[in-house]
């Protein structure tokens, strides 16, 4: 069995490492699982911290420059040379104080806007579900489980399917994010929501999350894989 030290050092270098040996160690070792969960909570803070907000007009493309604006850069250089300290303390400070949420944080924030989504346990009508899924060019296999909530939600400028699926582990929220690509699975544990965002090659990504759940990250990964398997892409 892999040593705890080796596992923890590897996870500190990349908390989203999907190496099978690391996963096996995590599943067998309660202490390292606890270590990982703490680490992922911190990782979520780190992601949000790095996503400082950017004013949309901060940088213009060369051909978007208006006449008279071409001398912008040299003017700024003079200002920087004169007051690097003031520039960071004031402008940087204001910028830092308004964080841009990460994808996982945006998913979690979206949950807060629809608390009622978790309430029902009865299946929604097929026509309602079809209506929600059709724009994203997908349908669910019959064995996907009971879908107790289906809504077409506005998320990062796009309409996305927001579903709640009843599973043996409890209700699971699924957001199909065809416009959001991730390179690899991104587990998160934030604000009482535990979940993962998994890549779907050619179709963006899927966010899968549970609320106030004691379900471990390994089980979440398995649920996400089952959700992914139950989707039939129609384009």
């Amino acid at each position: 069995m892999m040593e705890h030290t080796h596992y923890r050092a590897a996870m500190l270098a990349d908390p989203h490492d999907t190496d099978a040996e690391l996963r096996a160690h995590r599943e067998a070792c309660a202490e390292c699982r606890e270590f990982t969960e703490r680490l992922l909570r911190f990782e979520s803070r780190l992601e949000r911290a790095l996503r400082v907000d950017i004013p949309p007009t901060a940088v213009v493309l060369p051909f978007e420059r208006k006449p008279g604006n071409a001398a912008r850069a040299p003017r700024r250089w003079m200002a920087i040379a004169a007051s690097v300290l003031l520039g960071i303390a004031i402008a940087g400070g204001i910028w830092l104080s308004v964080p841009q949420q990460s994808l996982a944080a945006d998913v979690v924030a979206h949950m807060a806007g629809e608390p009622g989504a978790w309430q029902g346990t009865e299946a929604v009508a097929d026509s309602e579900l079809d209506n929600v899924l059709k724009d994203s060019k997908l349908r669910l296999k019959p064995d996907a489980g009971i879908v107790s909530y289906a809504s077409s939600c506005s998320f990062r400028g796009h309409r996305v399917p927001h579903l709640v699926v009843q599973t043996p582990s409890g209700p699971v929220t699924v957001m199909v994010l065809v416009h959001e690509s991730v390179r690899k699975a991104m587990p998160f544990d934030d604000e009482g929501y535990r979940g993962t965002i998994v890549p779907v090659p050619g179709h963006g990504s899927i966010a899968v999350l549970m609320r106030d759940s004691k379900v471990g990250s390994g089980e979440i990964e398995r649920i996400a894989a089952r959700v992914d398997d139950s989707i039939v892409w129609t384009r």
Binding site: A49, L61, G87
Partner: protein, 175 residues
């Protein structure tokens, strides 16, 4: 007419490449320099260089590393052109604290202050990994380091950050 159509096509292509990457490039430049104004200037100049050199980008899927490399080089050039006064990071963070004190974002503000204090050698690979989604191999290539060296820096960066943010590090491996 053909020239005009070609020009429009070039602009459309460049816009498409830059539109979604611009915010992350600015964030990357900010964390590289820890100076918003400097970050904006670096990215502005980088956009100009990228626009002039866009024909060298043969695979649009490689736009992100291509632009990021341009930003890194442009940032390095700023120090060839100018000598900036040395400023204490502690002093800067202390000055920023009142503005970072919004209660609901305190946990994020603490991490930001800790990132500001990280040595450049640790901060850059961490930003490449977490913000830009780079793999260890991609970071190694970009920073001209070995894979193990990148992993060591990432490991140390997180250890330092977590300790600085008051996280329980009792289970962390000792070096």
């Amino acid at each position: 007419m053909n020239d005009e159509a070609g020009g429009i096509q070039r602009r459309t292509r460049f816009q498409a490449i830059c539109q979604s990457l611009r915010p992350d490039l600015l964030r990357f430049a900010f964390w590289l320099s820890r100076d918003r104004a400097l970050a904006e200037d670096v990215v502005q100049e980088s956009m100009l260089r990228a626009w002039k050199a866009q024909d060298s980008l043969l695979d649009e899927n490689a736009a992100k590393p291509w632009l990021l490399t341009i930003v890194r080089r442009e940032y390095a050039r700023t120090f060839e052109r100018k000598r900036f006064p040395t400023v204490s990071v502690d002093e800067l963070i202390a000055k920023e604290e009142p503005m970072l004190a919004a209660a609901e974002e305190q946990d994020v503000s603490d991490v930001r202050a800790a990132i500001m204090k990280l040595p450049d050698d640790y901060r850059e690979p961490l930003v490449l990994q977490v913000l830009m989604g780079y793999s260890t191999a991609e970071i190694a290539r970009e920073l001209n380091l070995s894979g193990p060296a990148v992993l060591t820096r990432l490991h140390r960066a997180r250890r330092q950050l977590r300790a600085a943010c008051g996280e329980d590090t009792s289970m962390d491996p000792q070096e």
